[in-house]
Subunit: 553 residues, 2 copies
């Protein structure tokens, strides 16, 4: 067997080798630095041909419209996105598998199909679609960040990929993930580090950081990430994107490669990420309409239900300013306050959301994530002798510090964790119902609005300056969550919060980490949260909130 | 602490003491023997006043109609059922908690409510409703067959009980279960043995045997059992009743006491048992209409969906004659054949159902049931020092014989079991889809028809002459199943199957066990099986099948 360093070097070279020579730009990072540009998206807008910039500025919905009306061909679109993705990858290191040639060939076929039949294949006809590495495609490797998985191809195409393909999507890249997908940044010994497309000195977030980075650079209009602790929402929030964490059983996960397969207490879910909210709905409705419960036994047979809320209807919101453990940074707090004001201004009602067992939500979720004491990860790392990741060391120390056993749980300890989760779910639902006592019309809230992450991100190699406090609870609860861009960090408005006395060490660390200048102009997103299996409602409410925000003075 | 024998004696005496003196009949078993009657239901018809017999012959649907039209009062109905249940218990030992006084008081209140408002409380207004012991009620013990739980009252009323109460149900008894609910008969050191109401020399089945026995004796019109391996369906089948095993998440299990709480790979589910099919639908629609997902996080937000199949519409059935491991007895095979003929006669289509991985379904399910090597059961038994049950010894030996570890699984072994289940679910669904290749119109089957149990039951103390081969798979798959009475054992028609060569030791044991005379006149039921969360369809199809059978020449 080859030494792991050789495997890594060859894998990285192979990925790059799939980029056509004419799209290679060996000095691209240097060029950005010389031009003093940190925003990869803006930089690419400046160096790409105008017609390609115009195309890549469109969302999936608009792309299909342009194809349908024959203003653009699939080929033109695919070419523009492949080109841009090629350059984005050279800046951001966001892709792990590249197959532009096959994508362009398929685009030609789709154009021919449309020309000859006058029909589109489906609602995604001709749309370039990026996939997180976990999604399996024929003859393409799935390495999920492990050196030892280089060369491994899944025997089955993921069901979701099949459905999207049938509806006309064109796959052209698979995007990078951290080792085993178990981190809130995107770094692995295998592929290196994925940078933030809005500001390359920041982390792309993770674990769907490759996806977030590529989409934010407009190298892909629409793609899928997965989320077991925030992995769709964190990279979406760090890069000003829209993302949906659906509930388990709404979007098929069948034959998607994963860590800890068979772990069913907190299910990893797969969902869309895009620079457009309506694209999230396009994707989700399309997938639900495929009735994938006929194929995937984990999918719940719930057809698409239009949310009957009208723009004019009064909604009730619970705002969770903070969880009592780690206070969000000033820009996040400002986003919450601005959203609150604008919602009230539009006649909606806002109450406070303070769930009294937030700490337990985090503790129990961590018991799930560390249940096998990372034995599976270690075993797979050992196969290639690649070094144990910093992440795993941190995570293990965290478990031991919390009184963990230093070994995997027994099945009975696992059932105890399961019972704790059930109890927390019941308590959360009860707390939700009890908001009826706070609203003027005695109805419970429709949705929670809360931070995604306590800061607007972190610089690379600063992952420990963060916490999944605002994402993990909704994985444990299995609620539907939409990430919505609200504003950006404003040095003038977002002064440090001197009055706040840190509650604990994590809180102090987070507050000390704030520096308005450092975060300047970084996007600020919030989460719209609805209950389990309320994806339609969550997307519709996100749209209403966005529409209210658009009228903000 | 008292000796366990004292606790048992006192508990049994306490249960009996809740029966009014005028309803005590100390010689009832002797009287039946003298009259040479084995059927408790028929016996009770003979000794009870005619008006009470008339009332107790009605199903829940008819009872509510009679209350609504003021032909009967709740009190009259409650009195008749309490009286009959009191006698049934003295024959069958089917109850564990008795509270007639409270029930009759509530009946009076309901009558007064109706008289003063002209409104019924709900679709179960005034219907006596029996509950398997696991269901928690205020101030009433929940012992689930353990001596050590005597005196324990749950701190919360089960959500389902609350909902049923709100809809007008009158609780009057809780019914007996085997120790820990882990058996296909109903026997415990605590309460003794529950007899079959159709023929008292047979077992009532289990674990909802108390419920099945009481309802078959017409001591209750409608009740709920639970099912993790067949526990609703087996007692229903052994006593000629209707029963629904809903999918997990359709009927709320919240705050129902259980064994192995937190074990979530094969979920115990709660569902109705009755002597009427329409009562199953009455119950299920009512419960779904309560939108209990607002309270129980495990309930899936799927409203009641009327199945659009008409009596005249062609349906497609897969008939599973046997699973390739244990051939059902001749009466069961005849029931399948008669059903097949009658369905074809009515224009429906029937294809063969042969899932190739039946053995794996059983093996994997057993890995789940034995995952903790019965440590929990043993611990609870030890608290009172009651002896280890025969059932647990058998089950443990079975695990060891199959290469089990003799100790609980680790969390990673548990995840492996979980993965096996997911794979089997996918294979089953694929096999179901593939039936489209067998039907004339290229559509997959609507439903499977199959045995519930390979025999029409077993005599008391013969539980080892049985197997859950036809029930357990649908627990693992989480499919919706309705038990439907088809015929009864006929000595003349159901001659032993001489031609069959036993496939294995279990098969031989089952075949050797057959004796047409011994089973004579025992009810024969079959299962109608639909996919996960298809309760409405399953109930509607059962009704169509029943209607076809009613025209059988």
């Amino acid at each position: 067997m080859q030494h792991w360093t050789t495997i890594v070097a060859e894998k990285r070279a192979r990925t790059l080798s799939r980029i056509p020579n004419e799209w290679m730009h060996p000095n691209i990072i240097q060029d950005m630095a010389e031009k003093n540009v940190k925003n990869a998206c803006k930089y690419l807008d400046g160096i790409l041909p105008v017609d390609e910039v115009n195309i890549t500025s469109l969302d999936a919905t608009a792309l299909v419209e342009n194809i349908a009306s024959k203003k653009l061909t699939s080929y033109q679109i695919c070419y523009a996105f492949c080109h841009r993705a090629a350059l984005a990858h050279q800046i951001l290191n966001c892709c792990i598998e590249i197959f532009f040639e096959e994508a362009l060939e398929r685009a030609k076929q789709l154009d021919a199909y449309y020309a000859s039949t006058g029909k589109l294949k489906g609602p995604l006809h001709g749309v370039p679609f990026s996939l997180k590495d976990q999604v399996n495609l024929p003859n393409i490797e799935t390495t999920i960040g492990y050196v030892s998985k280089v060369g491994q191809k899944a025997d089955k195409m993921s069901l979701l990929a099949k459905l999207l393909h049938e509806q006309g999507a064109i796959f052209f890249v698979k995007t990078a993930v951290p080792t085993a997908m178990l981190a809130s940044e995107t770094v692995s010994t295998l592929h290196g580090r994925t940078l933030n497309a809005v500001n390359t000195s920041f982390s792309s977030g993770g674990s769907s950081g490759g996806e977030g980075s590529l989409i934010a650079a407009k190298g892909s209009p629409l793609g899928v990430g997965t989320d077991i602790g925030g992995s769709i929402r964190i990279p979406a929030a760090f890069q000003g994107l829209y993302g949906l964490r659906p509930s388990h059983g709404r979007v098929p996960y069948m034959d998607v490669t994963n860590s800890y397969e068979g772990q069913e207490l907190i299910s990893s879910v797969i969902g869309p990420m895009s620079s457009s909210l309506r694209d999230l709905e396009l994707f989700t409705k399309l997938v639900v309409d495929c009735e994938s419960w006929r194929y995937d036994p984990d999918v719940v047979p719930i057809p698409w239900r239009n949310f009957d809320g009208q723009q004019t209807q009064k909604l009730r919101f619970g705002i969770m300013t903070w969880d009592g453990m780690v206070l969000p940074h000033p820009p996040i707090l400002r986003a919450l306050e601005e959203t609150r004001k604008v919602l009230i201004h539009h006649g909606h009602e806002v109450v406070e959301w303070n769930f009294p067992h937030s700490e337990e939500l985090i503790d129990v979720a961590e018991q799930v994530y560390g249940a096998d004491f990372f034995n599976e990860v270690e075993e797979i790392l050992n196969e290639s002798e690649e070094p144990v990741s910093d992440y795993m060391q941190l995570a293990r120390n965290n478990i031991l510090a919390k009184g963990g056993l230093g070994k995997p749980l027994s099945v009975r300890q696992w059932w105890e964790v399961s019972l704790k989760i059930r109890k927390l779910k019941q308590q959360y639902l009860e707390h939700w119902r009890d908001t009826a006592n706070q609203t003027s019309d005695g109805k419970p809230i429709d949705s929670i609005i809360c931070p995604v992450w306590p800061s607007a991100g972190f610089h690379d190699r600063e992952v420990e300056h963060g916490c999944e406090n605002y994402t993990m609870p909704f994985n444990l609860l299995d609620y539907s969550c939409v990430v919505l861009p609200i504003t950006e960090v404003d040095e003038m408005k977002d002064k440090p919060n001197q009055a706040h006395l840190a509650k604990n060490a994590s809180d102090k660390k987070m507050q000390d980490f704030y520096d308005a200048k450092k975060f300047g102009k970084m996007p600020v997103c919030l989460q719209i949260v609805c209950k389990r299996l309320e994806e339609e409602k969550c997307l519709a409410i996100a749209s209403i909130v966005e529409s209210c925000l658009s009228t903000m003075p």
